[in-house]
């Protein structure tokens, strides 16, 4: 995993040094090229392939996260611009699957960056999270969506 990543970075720098253009587009192109080369090589050697599944998953998660962010931003914007309120706020208790401090921090960051939700507190044994939600039409549905859409995919990436 780490070895593959470092090899990929090394190939990127070799590409940038050979072409001689110091720019972000060149970096991204070199990274993609290095990824492709490593993928081809690794198929023939039959070594650990975890890295090659993880990188596309990270990009898929970023795209999904931005889609969610846009959708929730639209709801909040509608409520801000129109004069009456149609929100149903409440604080719910959410049981996390995340165990270590790093996983909890990343999960709290993701939840806080989605509009309409704010993390208020953690419980003492670090098992529950208290989330303030602005549009709480159905509590079970919200918890189900949060755990399946955000948390499980995040844990797949960072574990």
């Amino acid at each position: 995993m780490l070895q593959n990543f470092l090899l990929n970075i090394l190939l990127t720098f070799v590409w940038v040094a050979l072409t001689g253009q110091l720019g972000y587009t060149n970096f991204v192109f070199g990274y993609a090229l290095g990824f492709f080369i490593l993928w081809m090589v690794n198929k023939s050697v039959n070594a650990s392939t975890e890295y090659f599944y993880r990188v596309p998953k990270i990009f898929a998660f970023i795209l999904l996260f931005f889609y969610d962010l846009m959708k929730a931003n639209y709801e909040v914007t509608k409520d801000v611009i129109t004069p009456n309120y149609n929100m149903k706020p409440g604080i719910i208790k959410y049981e996390m699957e995340a165990k270590t401090d790093f996983e909890i921090t990343m999960l709290a960051n993701m939840i806080a960056l989605t509009p309409g939700t704010v993390v208020v507190d953690l419980s003492k044994n670090k098992k529950f999270m208290y989330i303030h939600v602005m549009y709480l039409t159905n509590k079970e549905e919200f918890i189900e969506r949060l755990s399946s859409r955000i948390e499980r995919k995040l844990l797949e990436i960072i574990r």
Binding site: N73, V76, P89, A112, H132
Partner: protein, 124 residues
């Protein structure tokens, strides 16, 4: 072409910032104000910084813009979490139409404050 892109991105970012500030002005209680604030402003500043990178088109400017976006995306949720926790501890009330509050008098949480009488923290 680049000029048109810069104009569109900067206008979009300014509109996001305007929505965030109008939300802060209009929303009725503290927690919804906070949840409107954090991301709309972060998104707007991201758009404006991308416009700046397109306008200057230099390596150093792009690095600075990426650093600013990274700082904002890392620090603003932490700041929001801290201030909301402190607000709950000091007894900020939820909105009057709130439907549920599972944090109230929960023995697991860190927010139960022995200095306050219990019925002062409740929602209006």
């Amino acid at each position: 072409m680049n000029d048109l892109l810069i104009k569109i991105l900067s206008t979009l970012g300014a509109v996001f910032v305007l929505i965030a500030s109008f939300g802060v002005f209009k929303m009725p209680d503290f927690y919804s104000r906070l949840s409107v604030t954090i991301k709309a402003a972060t998104l707007g500043i991201g758009c404006i910084l991308i416009a700046a990178t397109i306008h200057f088109a230099e390596f150093s400017v792009t690095t600075k813009a990426i650093a600013i976006i990274f700082f904002l995306f890392i620090t603003s949720p932490v700041a929001g979490f801290l201030i909301s926790k402190v607000a709950y501890i000091t007894g900020t009330k939820l909105w009057k139409d709130s439907i549920i509050d599972e944090l109230e008098n929960d023995p697991d949480s860190n927010c139960t404050n022995p200095a306050l009488p219990k019925d002062k923290i409740k929602k209006e």
